[in-house]
């Protein structure tokens, strides 16, 4: 085992971590602000990949498809929030959880009915194919591209939440919905928008993952758990937490894969258990959230 391999593995972990960040951010956003545990997150991810396939077939351009997916999936999220989740606010976390679980099953099955069981091919666009020599080893160009996309997305989200007046409203709403009512801001619109953004990011993660994995109706099931781990380790509702936790999980998984590969799935859960036992609210979570 050479130093180069360890370095490459570390880098691989960071790249994998950026995928985890992408998966976790949407879930964390929705939970942090709405305290809704969105069990349909994986299903929206999967729908994102299929919408990508559909958009690519009709638009014929990867970049256009990539741009269309978050808009379409986010739009679906708006509909879901408005008509299905909204009636459940104030009934505790169990009900939205059960509802989104059911919704996840329905979405997966609808995709099965439309696209079949076998999965559809989805290839890396020509310009992003191939591998690059990093000096320590070869690395896929597409994964480098993903790191960039994730960084841009996180930065944009940060700008939106921290620097725009609407972002301020969202953050205020997260800390105390009552204040919003006093100020005369319509909190339900804020929640609608946040749910839309969260699902849109899940869809984007789906289409971006499509060229690396198989586009099949079941592709979202493991993703849901990974997203949960990232969210919980980082602290529910913390953007910074999701980023740090995503990268951390990526590196831990990658290093386990080097030294004890068959346990690399377990590594993620052990990390989560360890973090929660030491810091029950997650790395960057607020204390007291959710009792």
């Amino acid at each position: 085992m050479t130093v180069n391999l360890v370095l490459l593995q570390l880098f691989t972990g960071l790249a994998l971590g950026s995928v985890f960040v992408l998966l976790g951010v949407g879930l964390s956003l929705i939970f942090g602000l709405l305290t809704v545990v969105n069990f349909a997150h994986g299903a929206f991810y999967m729908v994102g990949a299929y919408v990508g396939v559909f958009a690519l077939a009709h638009l014929g351009n990867f970049w256009l498809a990539m741009a269309a997916v978050p808009i379409i999936v986010g739009g679906m999220g708006l509909v879901v929030e408005r008509f299905l989740v909204r009636p459940l606010y104030g009934r505790g976390i169990d009900y939205p959880l059960l509802l989104t679980f059911g919704l996840g099953l329905v979405l997966v099955e609808l995709v099965r009915i439309i696209y079949g069981l076998e999965g559809v091919p989805f290839d890396v666009p020509e310009v992003l194919q191939g591998a690059v020599d990093l000096g320590i080893g070869w690395f896929p160009l597409y994964r480098l591209f993903l790191i960039v996309v994730t960084a841009v997305l996180v930065f944009a989200l940060w700008l939106f939440l921290e620097k725009t007046s609407y972002g301020l409203v969202i953050r205020a709403g997260a800390s105390d919905p009552e204040i919003m009512r006093v100020l005369g801001v319509d909190i339900s619109t804020v929640w609608l928008v946040v749910f839309g953004i969260g699902t849109g990011i899940a869809g984007l993660a789906g289409v971006l993952s499509a060229p690396m994995t198989s586009v099949i109706p079941d592709m979202g099931t493991t993703v849901l758990v990974q997203a949960f781990v990232v969210t919980v380790v980082g602290g529910m509702g913390s953007l910074l937490g999701a980023v740090v936790a995503g990268l951390l999980v990526g590196v831990v998984v990658s290093m386990t894969a080097l030294f004890y590969p068959e346990l690399s799935d377990l590594a993620m859960f052990m990390l989560m258990a360890a973090v929660l036992l030491v810091r029950p609210q997650g790395l960057f979570g607020r204390k007291g959230l959710m009792g």
């Binding site: 059911g102 919980v232 799935d265 377990l266 859960f269 258990a273 929660l276 959230l289 009792g291």
Partner: protein, 326 residues
């Protein structure tokens, strides 16, 4: 319980429900006794009572203590593996094997509970999920004992000789009543625990932790004990499942199983005595019937869940109670 004298059409039902509530363990038994005769096949009836017990045990933590656990597959699974390994690898008699399974589940619950009990709310759910996944991987990696991905096959009991009678577990009806005997015993014990002083403490903790603490109750210890007792019941369900199926599949430990039991409890009505059983019946029956009709059973199941949440938030049994008592 309303004491208005005015005669109402629902008063009749109300009295029945009250009678059921008073003799709840007995009421469940009556239903379960006729069960295998009305269901499509006996194995489904056995499945339902086993999962009903699993959901019942889970509900002690979820419904009666107010703590959402996402790790109960660990107890169900360890109970099953404990029993299976004792029979397949150690060649022990079935009842010793079941005892081992139940105790193993109890020990697992003691450890998981001790680690997880200091977190609260959704974090408790996540810690239990993570710890249960650890159990899954540990069992998965113990290939020599557990069979790994292949599962543990050949958990065969066959004939049971009781001295005065013998039970043939290959006969589906006899197997159902064998299973039911244990489930009935468990329901009786469960009912006793709920009615006991400790049951009152659980209610108090669920209602108001701070107040319970101020009264002098050790809330953590109470929750932990409830968690362990719950683990024992779920372990028994797992042990019965191993004997029922003759195999212990690895997916029994997967978090999907934990999710499934949460769904059953919610679907039936959490915090009600009959809820978990009602949930298990509805869930498994629905799945069984719909699966045979269409490969798109998940669509139906998903829609039913959504409808339940939106229109029957108290669950099946909870809604019945509400309707009758209104």
């Amino acid at each position: 319980m309303s004491d208005t004298a005015e005669p109402r059409p629902k008063a009749y039902w109300s009295r029945i429900v009250d009678a059921i509530a008073r003799h709840r363990a007995l009421a469940v038994l009556v239903v379960l006794l006729i069960f295998p005769f009305v269901l499509p096949y006996e194995a489904l009836a056995s499945n339902i009572v086993i999962f009903g017990l699993f959901a019942l045990g889970f509900n002690l933590v979820f419904g009666y203590t107010g703590v959402l656990s996402f790790g109960h597959a660990a107890f169900f699974g360890v109970g099953a593996y404990g029993t299976g390994i004792a029979i397949v690898h150690l060649g022990l008699p079935w009842w010793v094997a079941m005892l081992i399974g139940v105790l193993a589940a109890g020990v697992t619950a003691m450890i998981m509970g001790a680690l997880a009990i200091r977190t609260r709310g959704i974090y408790f759910a996540m810690v239990t999920l993570a710890l249960a996944q650890c159990v899954y991987y540990i069992v998965y990696q113990m290939k020599g004992w557990s069979g790994g991905e292949n599962g543990l096959n050949g958990v065969i009991v066959g004939q049971i000789d009781l001295g005065f009678a013998s039970i043939d577990l290959l006969d589906p009806m006899q197997k159902y009543f064998f299973t039911l005997t244990f489930v009935a015993l468990a329901i009786f014990i469960f009912s006793r625990i709920l009615a006991s002083g400790f049951g009152a403490v659980l209610e108090a903790v669920r209602e108001n932790e701070d107040r319970a603490r101020a009264c002098g109750y050790d809330v953590r210890l109470t929750k932990w004990l409830a968690f362990v007792i719950s683990g024992l019941f779920c372990g028994l369900a797992g042990a019965l499942n191993a004997i029922h199926l003759s195999v212990v599949p690895i997916e029994i430990l997967h978090y999907h199983m934990s999710g499934q039991v949460v769904m059953m409890a919610l679907l039936g009505g959490m915090g009600t005595f009959f809820g978990p059983f009602a949930g298990a019946i509805v869930f498994l029956l629905l799945e069984d019937v719909v699966t045979t009709m269409t490969t798109h059973w998940q669509l139906i199941l998903g829609l039913v869940f959504m409808a339940c949440v939106l229109f029957f938030p108290r669950g099946v049994w909870g809604s019945v109670l509400q309707w009758v008592r209104r």
